[in-house]
């Protein structure tokens, strides 16, 4: 059907234009189905090499999310699965268990729990029989504080499971030398800078924490090697 493109007064030009759009869309759809075939082919290839497409799909989906979306989703899944009885252990304690801390020392468990405090929100857990509240201060640093069940009426009864000692303003972890080194390693793993050493300048554990951080990073605290 021959068409005169210059013809006016009819809708031929409009029809031309519309056909143009339709052709373009069809071309793109064709490309899309072609790329869908390509994607399927890649999955098939991965499968032939022993990978499971289902998990690859999940990873690809996760990569499209922002890291905080991802963390939130995981945290909520943990919570729901635990509540629904799909898991027999609270995710919190499983995570602590994976962090190689001395589970018999209350302070180190609290220290480990601090790493798990969500950015917005707080956790209250019982550790060693005493409830402890964990939250983040304005600077985003995790803080821990024992929760006193009875309202301030009984001001720190001295014999109170040892946790009622007056806390100094900066919390210095209560641990031995090996513990200090381990805390340094852990700080590196948690992306904390080498200058976040919690021990004061004259505490011999300061050096051990620094050594632990460096050992874990394989560097000297001044960035990666090139």
């Amino acid at each position: 059907m021959p068409e005169a493109k210059t013809q006016r007064g009819t809708n031929t030009i409009v029809a031309d234009e519309l056909r143009g759009y339709i052709h373009r869309i069809e071309r793109i759809e064709e490309m899309r189905s072609q790329s869908a075939d390509d994607i399927r082919a890649v999955y098939a290839e991965a499968k032939a090499h022993g990978y499971t497409p289902k998990y690859i799909r999940k990873v690809i989906k996760a990569r499209k999310q922002t890291p905080s979306d991802r963390d939130d989703e995981r945290a909520m899944m943990d919570l729901y699965e635990t509540a629904a009885g799909l898991r027999d252990e609270l995710p919190l304690f499983r995570a602590v268990g994976a962090m190689s801390v001395d589970l018999t020392a209350r302070e180190s468990v609290v220290e480990a729990l601090k790493q798990l405090v969500p950015l917005a929100g707080e956790i209250v857990v019982r550790v060693g029989g005493v409830a402890v509240r964990l939250w983040r201060d304005e600077a985003g640093n995790p803080q821990a504080e024992d929760v006193v069940d009875r309202p301030a009426s009984a001001p720190s009864a001295a014999g109170n499971t040892g946790s009622a000692t007056p806390k100094p303003k900066v919390d210095v972890p209560d641990c031995d030398d090996a513990g200090a080194e381990e805390l340094g390693r852990e700080a590196f793993r948690n992306d904390q800078p080498i200058i976040s050493n919690p021990f004061p300048w004259d505490d011999p554990r300061r050096a051990l924490w620094d050594v632990g951080w460096r050992k874990e990073s394989g560097g000297d605290g001044m960035g990666p090697d090139d």
Binding site: D72, L116, G121, I123, I195
Partner: protein
């Protein structure tokens, strides 16, 4: 008399640097190794004392402006967990004859008395410690007296002391010997420049080849200059559209290059001679992509710990 005997607050002698606010300087291998060695030595003090030794406490850093002398001293103080007091000559040198020595004495006394201890950082040290001259006039007498006071006080000081200078060869020999560690900070090499660009361009990033190309075009630039360049670029990206400026790549680069200047004592990097015509500019994707879009290397795998949140406790107290 009464005026100057009033004890001064330590912070009135200079700027106090908080250990929590330090950054990690990006430096070459040799400098980093010297620093790690010094730290190890300081922390091994108890063992050294057993064999009758003391860890070294006084270091001299030299290097052209903006190579990171202050940044490195601050980092060291932070590793030790100490605040740093940075003192510049104008805080100590007085136009009144005889007063400078007194000020210096008072500074060292205040530094020695500080609790917790402070790391004393004497910036632009060459300003006082130039070669002593045979005195020909009063001004030289005064200068020699300042050097003598320093010689004495530096030697007696029991705390950590770092002096910084842009001109190592202007420093008096006797003074030089009072410092037991000398660290020369060189201009950054290619690998360091790459990392410095990456750090200060954040949250933008460059793909590997463009990054390499820019790092080459910035040869002889100090870290401080690279920082200003990157920050100038980011400022243009944000403000340019508001000011309705030409936001083409070449125009933006030319504006940044013409407003950020290398220190007159160091050479001009190639980018400053070629401006937007430089090949590194042609290699630069525009608009600048976000850093996470151009991950040059695969991300490091770290053990992942799930974050747990309790949805009924979302609000801070």
């Amino acid at each position: 008399m009464a005026r100057r005997t009033a004890p001064r607050d330590i912070a009135s002698y200079g700027d106090l640097f908080d250990p929590k606010e330090a950054a990690e300087p990006i430096l070459g291998r040799a400098v980093r190794d010297s620093l790690t060695e010094w730290l190890t030595e300081i922390w091994a003090a108890d063992d050294l004392v057993k064999v009758g030794l003391q860890p070294r406490r006084r270091a001299m850093f030299d290097g052209v402006p903006g190579v990171g002398k202050t940044t490195l001293a601050h980092h060291l103080a932070a590793r030790l967990g100490l605040p740093m007091l940075a003192v510049r000559p104008d805080k100590l040198i007085s136009k009144w004859v005889g007063q400078s020595s007194e000020q210096i004495g008072a500074l060292f006394d205040a530094a020695a008395a500080a609790d917790p201890p402070i790391l004393l950082f004497l910036d632009e040290f060459d300003a006082y410690a130039r070669h002593r001259r045979r005195s020909e006039q009063g001004a030289d007498d005064e200068r020699n007296m300042i050097v003598d006071t320093f010689l004495q006080r530096v030697e007696q000081h029991s705390g950590f002391l770092i002096a910084a200078t842009n001109f190592a060869d202007h420093v008096d020999q006797a003074m030089w010997r009072r410092f037991d560690i000398h660290i020369t900070l060189e201009l950054p090499g290619l690998a360091e420049r790459r990392r410095i660009i990456q750090r200060y361009l954040m949250p933008y990033g460059l793909p590997a080849d463009a990054l390499e190309s820019l790092a080459i075009a910035l040869e002889t630039a100090s870290p401080a200059l690279i920082r200003s360049f990157c920050e100038g670029l980011k400022r243009q990206i944000i403000l340019g559209p508001l000011l309705k400026l030409d936001m083409s790549r070449g125009a933006v680069i030319d504006r940044v290059v013409s407003t950020v200047h290398p220190h007159k004592d160091v050479g001009k990097p190639r980018l400053w001679s070629h401006g937007s015509q430089d090949q590194s500019v042609r290699a630069m994707p525009w608009p600048l992509p976000a850093a996470e879009e151009v991950k040059a290397e695969p991300p490091v795998c770290r053990p992942d710990v799930a974050v747990v949140s309790l949805n009924d406790r979302r609000n801070k107290p």
